[in-house]
Amino acid sequence: MAIAIFLIFAALAVFCGLNVVLRRHPIASALWLIGVMVSLAVLYGLLGAHFLAAAQVIVYAGAIMVLFVMVIMLVNAAPERRSAASRMAQALGFPVLAGLLAALGYVAWRAAPRAVVVTARKGTAHDVGSALFTTYLLPFEIVSLLVLIAILGAVVLTYKEKH
């Protein structure tokens, strides 16, 4: 049963991923990206990381992508225009991509073929929460500081003096 779920949502994630890359209009790729995120959230659930699944949906799909969609709307982005610039990047890109895929694939396949993922007990809000506020307290504080700075940054960047 788990395999069935995995295959469905993995296929869904890959399909959405492809669309994110292939669609020309940013709004379309944004929505497909949300699709990827939600399918990943389901996979997280499958892996037992319930808290993260919910967090994924709330943070990624619910907040970040909303920002993306809003910016796309504000900017009223038009579909991409094909420009002939930098053929070299294009030419170099494909082999690099192939190399990347091969390398990651090799690593993935060699990782531990027999290793079986048991839906771990850990992953509820309690486990993650306790870990977060004991062993990882310092990183947690630093990250919160980081987010604060990000907020300030965003405000400062987009602030238009009204003089």
Partner: protein, 102 residues
């Protein structure tokens, strides 16, 4: 509940990461490039969580959580920059933003 082998997860994240990299390299719109980066980050998150559950520890998930938060911060600042770029340059086509050209 027959479990799913770990390498399938890693393979899936590899594919997603590659897709993200492709978008990152080939797309011409700044926002799409930015989204491909988010896609790559998601792929990484998947690996984190897959390995975390394989090892039965929660540290992987905490890492994933931190990645998510940092991604949020990055998205905020990134989108602000994109807005400012659009306001100053009038376009988001990556090839037209070449004022650094020698």
């Amino acid at each position: 509940m027959d479990a799913v082998p770990l390498s399938w997860y890693l393979l899936l994240s590899a594919v997603l990461f590659a897709l993200g990299a492709a978008g990152f390299m080939f797309r011409r719109n700044l926002i799409t490039v930015f989204m491909s980066i988010e896609l790559m980050l998601n792929a990484v998150n998947l690996t984190f969580i897959a390995l975390a559950s394989r090892l039965g520890q929660v540290d992987g998930q905490v890492f994933a959580f931190f990645v998510m938060v940092v991604a949020a911060a990055e998205a905020a600042v990134g989108l602000a920059i994109i807005l400012v770029v659009f306001r100053n340059r009038g376009t988001l086509q990556v090839d037209e933003l070449d004022s650094l050209k020698n």
